[in-house]
Amino acid sequence: MLVLCIGDLHIPSKAIKLPEAFKKPLSPGKLHHVISTGNLTNLATHDMLRDLASNNLLGVAGEFDDLEFPSKLVENLGGIRVGITHGHRVIPRGNIDALAALTRRWDVDILVVGGMPEFAIHQIDGRFIICPGSATGIAMPPYTAARPSFAVLDLQLDRFGVYHYSVDDSGALSVNKESYLLHEEEEEDKEGQLAEGEERMLEDEEDDDDDEANL
């Protein structure tokens, strides 16, 4: 299954349109789900993303979205649990440990998070955090502008591939591919699980506050 992860377009406030080189890969009928990490920010962009995968748009709200999206989504995509959030409520912003805590709290295999202009992928305790970057490459304080980018996940039973699409300064498209195995640490010893359990207990109090804030 092919899942597009895209977000932080900020059209029309910070960027006018998507880079030309993205027009061809982003055409309808090739993707099965679209994950939007928020900050689209207008309805036309939303419609464009929705039509890429015949209405299978999984969208969350960024801090600049007027559209009514939930602040988080947890979906089971072909047997893989995927969490989606824009991440502007994660404090400190963009902190990997804080995001890793989210993956455990929501019990997801992959967390797709927006709010950062740079593409990044982290593997922590057998769970993955993927930031597709900004599709228009705009600056989002405190981050500076980066190369426009999005990601396509190729989800399979026990593994997934990440295709990272980006545009360089000359406007040429480049694609990078990385492959990962899921549930590598399925047979993990109990020590790790214990640590995870403790952590979860510690987090729970903070969680409640956080969840209220989200509502």
């Binding site: 092919l2 009928g29 947890v74 072909g78 295709y163």
Partner: protein, 437 residues
């Protein structure tokens, strides 16, 4: 009366070397219901089971194993092979169409599109039959309830993001509808077969909502495999009706312990059936004498020969056979009758197989011609639009009575002159079938 009909049938099927002509003749009165004989009869007629009973066990085992191998290859292994093939992401990546047209990703996209198309048709297959309806137990394995599917479906066409997303998030407290009941994968895997696990009810997420029952998933698998193995026909609308008929009969009428093999058996019988009638599905042969056009003109000739009044009526109104009979042929009449009646019609039509490779089509021709004649009195009263409506939505009739007219008398009579009138060598097709009627 009942024994008179069932006893010879059982006896004929129990002999060491089965006489196909004999059981085909007996089946013209319909295969007796409730004795689990029909799957065996269909398998024999479709050439899946050999006539020698001693070979049955080994044949079945081989074919069922082969089917499992295919399923494994196409639905489980296939994704791993794309993994190996894609060495350079720039030359072959999923969505840019930049790679060669025979690349692993192009193939993947083609299959995904085909899967979505097949799934749409399978969901529409026999919606009124309980067997093909939503199975809550199956859905529960994926943590989905029937209500979720219903509400999800009704929201698909909704263009407003606000309503769509809020309804998705309100569906369950976890904010998602495809959640497995729990995280524990080992336990979840125990409940599901390999395919289901892979598929999560959605064939790996390619479909946007889960299959509603195991039978739907089986139909999709069979049609996908057929499309992959037969690139000439691939998939056309209507094949879902044929394969669902065979699967329905095999699943519901076989011994309970044989049910797990219904899918494999149905697949091979479907393949054999398509080798007999596949020409009408092949676009390249449309204009040919063995293609759909050839059958249309033969049908009109058959009507002219047997029911001149009907033929005159149809031609004076300017109604060609295409208007109603294309559907009759492509669905092998499965769409014209209710399911049990259609099964009865197939008993007779498949029996034509004993008359050689074209036998099935000849029988079908004969039944179609009779269908026109059967409603002759009403038909002649009708104007243009009524005639078309009547033939496109064929009235409910007594099928046994209808089929009694369709098959030449000497075929049903218990003697051996069959080969004289309906042998494989008879060149005239329909004409041949009616000689002496």
């Amino acid at each position: 009366m009942r024994n008179e009909r069932t006893a010879p049938f059982s006896v004929a099927l129990e002999s060491e070397n089965i006489d196909l002509r004999e059981i085909s003749r007996l089946a013209n009165f319909g295969v007796p219901d409730g004795l689990r004989l029909r799957p065996i009869y269909w398998k024999l007629m479709l050439g899946y089971l050999p006539t020698d009973r001693k070979l049955w066990e080994s044949t079945l085992k081989d074919m069922r194993d082969l089917y499992d191998t295919y399923v494994h290859q196409f639905f489980i292994k296939v994704r791993k092979s794309t993994e190996d093939v894609c060495v350079d992401p720039l030359s072959d990546e999923p969505i840019n169409d930049k790679g060669p047209s025979d690349s692993a990703w192009a193939e993947y996209q083609k299959n995904a599109k085909l899967l979505i198309e097949i799934d749409k048709d399978v969901r529409r297959t026999h919606p009124m039959v309980q067997f093909f309806r939503c199975d809550p137990e199956y859905l529960a394995k994926f943590g989905v309830t029937q209500k979720d599917i219903g509400s999800y479906q009704s929201n698909v066409g909704d263009k407003s993001p606000a309503i769509k997303f809020s309804s998705l998030t309100n569906n369950s407290e976890k904010g998602t509808i495809f959640n497995p009941p729990e995280r524990n994968r080992a336990r979840l895997n125990g409940l599901l077969t390999d395919f289901d696990r892979l598929a999560n009810g959605t064939f790996g997420g390619i479909l946007d909502k889960p299959q509603v029952s195991q039978h739907h998933a089986a139909l999709v698998r069979m049609l996908m495999l057929f499309a992959r193995l037969n690139t000439a026909i691939q998939y056309v609308q209507g094949l879902n009706e044929l394969v669902s008929m065979i699967y329905y009969v095999f699943y519901t009428e076989c011994e309970p312990e044989e049910r797990q093999y219904a899918e494999a058996d149905a697949f091979w019988c479907f393949v054999n059936l398509m080798s007999a009638v596949g020409d009408i599905y092949t676009v390249g042969l449309d204009g040919d004498v063995i293609g759909i056009r050839g059958h249309m003109s033969r049908l009109m000739k058959g009507i002219e020969a047997r029911y001149p009044a009907c033929h005159k009526h149809l031609s004076s109104l300017g109604i060609p056979a295409d208007f109603f009979a294309i559907r009759w042929f492509t669905l092998l009449l499965a769409g014209e009758f209710e399911l049990p009646d259609a099964v009865r019609v197939w008993d007779t039509v498949l029996g034509g197989r004993v008359n050689g490779p074209d036998g099935v089509m000849d029988r079908l021709q004969a039944v179609c011609v009779t269908m026109i004649g059967f409603v002759e009195d009403d038909l002649l009263q009708c104007g243009y639009s009524e005639t078309i409506t009547m033939l496109q939505k064929y009235p409910v009739v007594d099928v046994n009575h209808l089929l009694g007219f369709a098959v030449p008398k000497e075929v049903t009579a218990a003697n051996n002159v069959v080969s004289n009138s309906e042998g494989p060598a008879s060149p005239g097709g329909v004409e041949g079938a009616y000689r002496g009627f």
